[in-house]
Structure formats: structure tokens, C-alpha cells
């Protein structure tokens, strides 16, 4: 929004995608793998937020919890119950990682909603790696736990015999599409919402340039508020969806039979 402020009077500036640019935090050099960038900053803030909630929040270990401890316990119980309900008791071994993923995505999404913030989860590189880790580990766990029985996941026993090879092809394709949909769903949601807010924000200073701004500016401000509210909801829902899908995939690895 700073650039629109600088340029108003000359015209509207539409740079809805600029907020997603990865740039070094200090200086202007190229982005190496080790460069400290805005990605580093916002991921670090997310990690700090997780630590504040889950470690500092529960530091007092009170029997009757305070506010922060209540939220920490609720989060713990929420994901713990999700893992147990979907994957069963065997899935609880992977609970720490699933909670890590949930909290990382949740705080990345929420912190990304702050003005001028950068949203790591709007990048396909980030969500793609998260989804790939889930995909690879679920596949490995599936084969380690069940051996070749894991392939029964693709062999639908409840279908008529003639249909099973066709279904197997479909199942295999859908299995390999999982990481793609898993990652693009999250990145796409975050990117689209932020970009739309930015577009509306670009329309907001129109009142300074044109008569029609009398109409457009209030409309765009209302639209920003509405989109922002929706984005808060989406930020939570996408973290939840990513986590619950992780649980579902893990369940397939632990109990491959349909």
C-alpha cells in the first residue's frame, strides 16, 4: 500500500503480486539459499508465535488454566482428537509432526494477514514441500507397515472384478495427484485472497483522482473489509484442511484396505 500512496495523483497502481516477491531483508543482493529474506522473517515470527502459545502459554502448568494455557490445551486437544479419530491410536506417533504442520500453516496464514506482511504459505515452493513431505512419508510408512499389502489401496475389493483394473488406474492417478492438490489448494487460497485484497486496495485512492471515486472508494473499502473477514476464516480453514488431509492420507498408509 506504500507504493500506491507514493504514486497517487498520477494514477492508480496495480501491483497485487508484489507482496509475494521474495527479497533480501538486508541490502539488495541476489537471493541465495542462505540469504536472510522476508521468508526468513515471517517464518521466524511464526515459529516465535508457536513457541509463545505452546511453550510460554503452558509454562505455569496450572490445574485451572489461564487464557493462554486454555488455548494451548485446546489446540493440543483439537489436533490430538483429529489424529486419533481419523488414524486411530497408531497415528498418535505422528501427532507431533501433524501439530507442527498445523501450527506452522495456521500462524503463517494469520501473520500473513497483517498489513505489509509476507505470507510464506502463499508460495507453492513452501506448500509443495509440505505436501511432498507428507506424500513421501505416507508412502514410506505405508510400505514399511503393510509391505505389498499397501498396494491393496489401489485394488478396490468392493467393486466388481471387471471394473477393478480401471479403478486401479484411477486410484493410482489420484494417489499421485494428491501432493499437487494438497499444496496448490493452500497456496492458491492464500495467494488469491491476498491478491484480491490488494486489487481492492489499489482502487481505494481513486477518490483523490476522479469524480467516480466518490462511488468506488467506499465500495472498495467495504470490499476490503469483507474480503479480510473472509480471509481470516480461510486462513484457519486452509490450515485445518491441510491438516485433516494429512491425517486422511496417513490413515490410508496405516489401514490401506478400503
Amino acid at each position: 500500500m506504500a507504493e500506491t500512496g507514493a504514486e497517487h495523483g498520477e494514477g492508480l497502481s496495480f501491483h497485487p503480486m508484489d507482496q509475494f516477491i521474495v527479497k533480501p531483508l538486508f541490502g539488495d543482493g541476489p537471493v541465495h539459499w542462505y540469504t536472510i529474506t522476508n521468508v526468513t522473517l515471517w517464518m521466524a515470527l511464526g515459529v516465535v508465535a508457536v513457541i509463545l502459545l505452546m511453550v510460554t502459554g503452558a509454562a505455569r502448568r496450572s490445574i485451572v488454566p489461564g487464557r493462554a494455557q486454555s488455548i494451548a490445551e485446546l489446540t493440543y486437544g483439537f489436533i490430538h482428537k483429529m489424529v486419533e479419530d481419523i488414524c486411530g491410536k497408531e497415528g498418535l506417533k505422528y501427532f507431533p509432526y501433524i501439530l507442527t504442520v498445523f501450527l506452522f500453516i495456521l500462524f503463517a496464514n494469520f501473520l500473513g494477514l497483517l498489513p505489509m506482511a509476507f505470507t510464506p504459505t502463499s508460495h507453492i515452493a513452501v506448500t509443495g514441500l509440505l505436501a511432498l513431505v507428507v506424500f513421501v512419508s505416507v508412502t514410506v510408512i505405508g510400505f514399511v507397515k503393510n509391505g505389498t499389502h499397501f498396494l491393496e489401496l489401489f485394488w478396490v475389493k468392493s467393486a466388481p472384478l471387471a471394473l477393478r483394473p480401471i479403478l486401479a488406474v484411477i486410484e493410482v492417478i489420484s494417489y499421485f495427484v494428491r501432493p499437487v492438490s494438497h499444496s496448490i489448494r493452500l497456496a492458491g487460497n492464500m495467494m488469491a485472497g491476498h491478491a484480491v485484497i490488494k486489487v481492492f486496495a489499489a482502487f481505494a485512492p481513486l477518490i483523490l483522482m476522479s469524480g467516480i471515486g466518490v462511488l468506488v472508494t467506499p465500495l472498495s473499502i467495504v470490499a476490503i473489509v469483507a474480503m479480510y473477514g473472509l480471509e481470516v476464516l480461510v486462513a484457519f480453514i486452509q490450515a485445518y484442511v491441510f491438516t485433516i488431509l494429512t491425517c486422511v492420507y496417513l490413515k490410508d498408509a496405516l489401514h490401506p484396505a478400503h
Binding site: 494514477g11 492508480l12 497502481s13 496495480f14 501491483h15 497485487p16 503480486m17 508484489d18 509475494f20 516477491i21 521474495v22 541476489p30 537471493v31 541465495h32 539459499w33 542462505y34 540469504t35 529474506t37 521468508v39 526468513t40 517464518m43 521466524a44 511464526g46 515459529v47 508457536v50 513457541i51 505452546m54 511453550v55 503452558a58 509454562a59 502448568r61 496450572s62 490445574i63 488454566p65 494455557q69 494451548a72 490445551e73 493440543y76 486437544g77 501427532f95 507431533p96 509432526y97 501439530l99 507442527t100 504442520v101 501450527l103 506452522f104 510464506p120 502463499s122 508460495h123 507453492i124 515452493a125 513452501v126 514441500l129 509440505l130 497456496a187 495467494m191 483522482m209 476522479s210 467516480i212
Partner: protein, 178 residues
């Protein structure tokens, strides 16, 4: 500035910005820092936060279960105490009933005795009175007869007759009877 000019300006300003998401040169950087963030978060959660929170939850579960057991015990004790109290109350009530009954029986006995004595006395008095009344009546009857004889004899003498006592007595007796 009219709308068409504005639209042209807008079109000029919004140079087609490529998606930064597809700028592969930033991928190693993002992946590196993501791995760092995930490892740190995972270690903090699995080493520090989760054992702590699960310990808190277990402790709370334990203390709640303990409290419920204690409450159950107290409830049982209260029930026992109530039963004992009820029993004592019933006993006391019985005792009181017995005492009241005894007292009542004693009073009744005394009363009966007193009534019996009083009755006896009254009967004796009544009998005595009866006898006295009889005597008085008999005395009165005899006096009436002798007065009547005397009066009759006097009247006969006054009329100039000669009254012999037996006749007068017989006539008076007949008259008094009639």
C-alpha cells in the same frame, strides 16, 4: 480526467506482473528456511511443549478423578451419618412414646382409684340421705295422722258429739288413705 483516460492510465500502470510464486530462483531460499522453521517448531513441540501439555492434562485428569472419588467417599459417609441419625431419632421417639405411655397409665390408675373412692363416698352419702329422708317421711306421716285424729275428735266434741277414739282413728285412717 474522464473515465477512458483513467482506464488507459490503469492499463499502462498495471504492467503484467509475473507470479513471484513461479520464480524458481527463490525456491532454494524458501525451502531452506522452511526446513529450518519446521525442524525448530518440531523440536520445540515434541521436546518441550507437548510433554508439558500432556502432563498438565494427565495431572488434571488425575486430580479430577481423585476429587470425584473423594466426593463419592464423603457422600457415602454422609449417608452413613444420616442413617445413624435416623436410627437415633427413631430410638428417642420410641423411648418418648414409652415414657408417655407409662405416665398415662399411672395417671389413669390414680384417677380410676380416686374416682372409685369418690363414687363410694357419694354412694354412702346418698344411702344415708335416703335413710334420713325415709325417717323424716315416716315421722311426718305419723304426725299428720295424730294431728288429724286430734283435730277430728275436737271437731266432733265441738259439734256436741261424743267421739270414741277408735272410730275417729278408723275414719281418719280411711280418709288419709283415700
Amino acid at each position: 480526467m474522464d473515465n477512458e483516460e483513467l482506464a488507459a492510465e490503469v492499463a499502462k500502470e498495471s504492467v503484467p506482473a509475473g507470479m513471484p510464486q513461479l520464480d524458481f530462483s527463490s525456491f532454494p531460499n524458501q525451502i531452506f528456511w522452511l526446513v529450518v522453521a519446521l525442524v525448530v517448531t518440531y523440536l520445540v513441540l515434541s521436546r518441550l511443549a507437548l510433554p508439558r501439555i500432556s502432563a498438565i492434562l494427565a495431572e488434571r485428569q488425575g486430580s479430577i478423578a481423585g476429587d470425584i472419588a473423594a466426593a463419592e467417599e464423603y457422600k457415602l459417609k454422609a449417608k452413613e451419618a444420616e442413617a445413624a441419625y435416623e436410627k437415633a431419632l427413631a430410638e428417642a421417639r420410641n423411648q418418648a412414646q414409652k415414657i408417655v405411655g407409662e405416665a398415662r397409665a399411672e395417671i389413669k390408675k390414680d384417677l380410676d382409684a380416686a374416682i372409685a373412692t369418690a363414687d363410694e363416698k357419694i354412694a354412702a352419702r346418698a344411702a344415708e340421705s335416703e335413710a334420713r329422708i325415709g325417717e323424716i317421711r315416716a315421722g311426718a306421716l305419723a304426725s299428720v295422722r295424730s294431728v288429724a285424729q286430734d283435730a277430728a275428735a275436737e271437731i266432733v266434741a265441738a259439734l256436741g258429739g261424743k267421739a270414741d277414739a277408735d272410730t275417729v282413728a278408723a275414719a281418719v285412717a280411711a280418709r288419709v288413705k283415700g
